[in-house]
């Protein structure tokens, strides 16, 4: 692909994601997976998952951070800017329209019905994203335990915000990195062997 083409392609992908991803950052995951991982092979599953992990430790909008970091991962700073702008244009235009006509829209049965139809679909898609990534991310019982602990804390413990859970994961990872368990270096070696294209 020539230079113009790759940026234009990235812009189109993220414009489309911006247009059809309702319900926040994780709702984008299925679309990124389909377009950039499955169809174009520009990212590996692992790399996509890592982008989401890193972005959930960052402040600001998850969706925007994911777009920008994905763009950066593919094509550097220009890629970051292109992906970010592609992602935010549809949202910006549509929200200005909605707020401009807020009195007409707010209690309109048609708008409410559309939103009530879209919300469950988004829930299904997010569940689909979790299902897809769990095959790779939850390889053993420890991973399952960690995941279930995270859900339990986030859903049932009031006042435990996302960032504490993510920071907990980072700290745990750093601690594990210093414990020389027998199987850990091996899996790391495998990862190094199957080095991803960057």
């Amino acid at each position: 692909m020539s230079k113009e083409h790759k940026y234009w392609y990235l812009f189109k992908i993220f414009f489309k994601i911006g247009l059809f991803s309702f319900g926040g950052g994780f709702a984008m995951m299925t679309m990124i997976e389909r377009s950039l991982v499955d169809e174009k092979n520009l990212l590996t599953h692992n790399r996509m998952m890592n982008i989401f992990s890193v972005c959930s430790a960052m402040p600001g909008s998850l969706a925007l951070n994911v777009s920008t970091l994905t763009g950066f991962t593919l094509y550097g700073i220009r890629g970051a800017i292109v992906a970010m702008i592609g992602n935010l244009i549809p949202a910006t235009v549509i929200v200005i329209g909605l707020v401009a006509f807020i009195s007409a829209v707010e209690n309109e049965p048609l708008f409410l019905a559309v939103m009530r139809g879209i919300s469950p679909v988004v829930v299904g898609l997010i569940a689909g994203a979790a299902y897809r990534v769990s095959k790779r991310a939850l390889k053993n019982i420890w991973c399952w335990g960690l995941m279930l602990t995270g859900v339990a804390l986030l859903v049932f413990a009031p006042g435990v915000s996302t960032i504490y859970v993510v920071l907990g994961g980072i700290v745990l990872g750093l601690i594990l990195a210093f414990i020389p368990l027998k199987e850990l270096p091996k899996s790391t070696q495998e990862d190094l062997k199957t080095k991803e294209r960057s």
Binding site: G24, T30, P59, F72, A80, L146, G169
Partner: protein, 196 residues
């Protein structure tokens, strides 16, 4: 146009980009209290914006911010808010990305990323649960008037049948077929008009 208001908006959204952690819902709380403190609006005046900005696709934090900027100062306000959200995001992502990819293949970074993967799955599942709880689908205080609501003891919705069926359909179509996601979202909108 009042430049002071635009500068205040810009400053507010720079802060959102740097200090708000978590979902767009957290960002909205930040915007709401910040805008009130800066004297840009009265308390509670922005709640309706949050209610409909979920109706726009894309980043929730961005749509609430642009919505609030537009309400307070028109198109220039929307533009300034958008820039305020973009600039910290771009700078932070570039800093983090440089660090991440410089360290990417070190065993330590791989271990941290590997540990974070299950945590991220828990965040994904929580995102789905939170949407259901805020939209009257599961364990919610909101009631969908035309839904098949199964009520709990304290007048809360235990679950709502139509939405659950729709969610299950979308999950199965996504997992078992190659139907495009855009089509699923449009299908959801049409289904919503037909059944709610």
């Amino acid at each position: 146009m009042n430049v002071e208001i635009l500068l205040k908006l810009f400053w507010l959204f720079i802060q959102v980009g740097v200090f708000s952690f978590g979902s767009g819902y957290a960002a909205f709380q930040f915007v709401n209290s910040g805008a009130t403190e800066l004297g840009l609006c009265q308390d509670g005046a922005l709640v309706d914006i949050f209610a409909i900005s979920g109706g726009a696709p894309g980043p929730v934090a961005l749509s609430t911010s642009v919505g609030v900027g537009f309400r307070i100062a028109g198109l220039p306000g929307a533009f300034v808010s958008m820039l305020g959200i973009m600039i910290p995001c771009l700078i932070l992502v570039i800093i983090i990305a440089k660090f991440l990819y410089a360290q990417y293949y070190t065993p330590r970074m791989q271990m941290v990323l590997k540990t974070l993967a299950p945590v991220t799955v828990s965040l994904i599942i929580t995102a789905a649960i939170r949407i259901m709880m805020s939209k009257g689908i599961l364990f919610s205080s909101q009631v969908i008037p035309s839904g098949w609501n199964v009520m709990g003891a304290e007048g809360n919705v235990l679950f709502e049948g139509k939405s659950i069926l729709l969610a299950a359909t979308s999950f199965l179509l996504f997992a078992r077929t190659k139907v495009s996601i855009a089509l699923l979202v449009i299908g959801g909108a049409v289904a919503g008009i037909l059944i709610f």
